[in-house]
């Protein structure tokens, strides 16, 4: 039989940390997407010539039929709210001073979409089917990242 501790002060732990740093190669399709955001303030999608499945963000291959996809095409950075949530906690789990709405926005004329923040809207007014548009950073401030989109806001 093993002895079990009854005094928590006698428990020993050893702290460990790992500095996890990484770069993620965005790839051919990812580069087309992030360049369109950075250079033109637009989004790009791609269709599968085999089965017609449509992707945004674009991909080099189709997950449904495994064909190589075709040429990317530019689309308007507008869409509809497919689903949404109001976050009341930050990444640490602490209460947010101001709740933040996140949504999956299905981009018009494509089969895909993005999870992103919704802004310039009262959380109570957000609904499925709501039409929204992307708000981009000024061109000079863009770095070629999903964060070049500040958020989505109700469509004008």
């Amino acid at each position: 039989m093993r002895e079990k501790l009854t005094n928590p002060d006698h428990v020993r732990t050893w702290p460990g940390t790992i500095p996890v740093e990484h770069v993620y190669t965005v790839g051919v399709a990812g580069e087309a997407f992030l360049r369109a955001i950075k250079e033109r303030g637009r989004l790009v999608a791609v269709g599968c010539p085999g089965c017609g499945t449509d992707y945004l963000p674009p991909r080099l291959y189709c997950e449904r039929c495994f064909e190589k996809t075709g040429e990317v095409r530019e689309v308007e950075a507008r869409g509809t709210v497919d689903t949404f949530t109001v976050a009341h906690r930050d990444l640490e789990g602490h209460p947010l001073e101001k709740p933040q709405v996140y949504a999956f926005v299905r981009i018009d004329g494509t089969g895909g979409g993005l999870v992103h923040r919704l802004g310039e809207v009262d959380p109570d007014d957000v609904h499925i089917g709501m039409e929204v548009q992307a708000v981009f950073l000024p061109p000079a401030q863009r770095t070629g990242s999903i964060l070049d989109i500040v958020n989505f806001k109700p469509a004008e």
């Binding site: 993620y24 109001v86 009341h88 990444l91 209460p95 949504a103 999956f104 999870v115 999903i146 964060l147």
Partner: protein, 384 residues
């Protein structure tokens, strides 16, 4: 026909919200000793192969599979790790026996969640690094998104989800292995602090520490062992897609397809009539409803009504998560599937104590690999 396979021994390490007194190795040892005692096997002589399920990041150790053998009695023996849920590991163990490569196989899964100082950051690291993670949101926001869409498409309600919490936490009160048993009212759940609306604080299964070891044996040797065998009638697993832009938000297709494989293997065509009860993933309240519908136990949109009518209560026509599930019993990371399997085994053996259901012959255990995955496993277990 491949040889039939049974779970002939089960053991668990006591499930607790924190386990400061034991290292993860000691927890695994505790579960292993109980399982080997239950099955009547000596791991150093009688077990042909060992399988563990674990994730390096949850463990805080790279190449964690190298840290598995000693506490299971598996040093100098065939051993491998499956980076997946416990039921993935269970299926691999069954297949090793089906192929004739092994006669007795051990599968292990555990959670030492309380050793993690930054669990949300580790969890967030599972999200797409280019398109999703940069948002810096807490990983549970994805559950809020799924829940909104699931309720919208299925017609189930926020109140139905709260009923899941009420049921499972009450069930847990009768289960000595469950850590988060409580008698909560619908109002308690609905008025709990919001987290990722419509999710409230009580809709999210809280983590716990604990682990399971199970001994599997083929029919040719199961009879010679001491353990009360529970037979594996079918199993399946499936991953939909990792991409958030092409997955379905309102349906658990992974569970539907995993169940289809398991039902085919078990010869089940009408799961509601041919199964007596189920332990399904309830990591978030809405998931129990979504999974019940995906498993074909009820039709799309019916799960909430079933709960309202008491069908999934312990005394109902189709009890679900009588053990308390993860909401009442704690979420055990990759051991969550084995947690569900363990409770099904105890029910079928008649060893479920105050939670025991009368006359149960066949049950289902289902797992989901939690956010952000679309991966699920199903196993059908039977008494004879």
């Amino acid at each position: 026909m491949p040889e039939r396979v049974a779970i002939v021994g089960v053991g668990y390490s006591d499930i607790r919200s924190i386990t400061p007194g034991l290292s993860y190795k000691e927890m695994m040892y505790e579960a292993a000793v109980r399982a080997y005692e239950d099955a009547g096997v000596n791991p150093r002589k009688d077990v042909d192969s060992f399988i563990s399920v674990s994730e390096d990041f949850w463990e805080g150790t790279s190449i964690f599979d190298e840290y598995i053998p000693d506490q299971l009695g598996a040093a100098l023996r065939p051993v491998h790790t499956v980076s997946g849920d416990g039921i993935h590991g269970l299926a691999c163990a069954a297949m090793l026996i089906h192929t004739g490569r092994a006669r007795v196989v051990v599968v292990e899964g555990h959670s030492k969640h309380s050793d993690m100082r930054t669990p949300a950051h580790i969890h967030n690291f599972a999200y797409d690094p280019i398109y999703h993670r940069p948002l810096g949101a807490h990983p549970h926001h994805l559950a809020g998104l799924e829940m909104t869409r699931f309720l919208f498409e299925s017609g189930n309600t926020r109140e139905h989800c709260a009923l899941v919490v009420k049921k499972n936490m009450a069930n847990a009160l009768l289960n000595p292995r469950a850590v988060y048993g409580a008698r909560v009212s619908l109002r308690d759940v609905l008025e709990a602090p919001p987290t990722f609306s419509p999710l409230g604080e009580l809709d999210i299964a809280r983590p716990a520490d604990g682990g399971f070891v199970m001994v599997l044996a083929g029919e040719s040797v199961a009879g010679d062992l001491a353990g009360d065998p529970i037979w594996i009638a079918g199993y399946g697993w499936c991953t939909e897609t990792p991409a958030i832009d092409s997955r379905l938000w309102g349906e658990a297709i992974y569970a539907q397809l995993a169940a289809k494989q398991a039902y085919r293997m078990a010869g089940i065509t009408d799961p509601f009539r041919e199964l007596d009860f189920a332990e399904v993933d309830d990591s978030f309240s809405y998931k129990e409803l979504e999974h019940l519908e995906a498993l074909g136990i009820c039709r799309h949109g019916e799960a909430g009504g079933w709960l309202e009518d008491g069908l999934t209560l312990p005394g109902g026509d189709f009890p679900v998560n009588v053990s308390g599930g993860s909401l009442g019993g704690g979420h055990l990371l990759e051991a969550t599937g084995l947690h569900r399997v363990h409770e099904v085994v105890l029910q079928l053996r008649g060893q479920a104590g105050e939670n025991q259901l009368p006359d149960v012959e066949r049950g289902l255990a289902q797992s989901w690999r939690n956010l952000p995955t679309t991966t699920g496993c199903v196993v059908i277990l039977e008494r004879a």
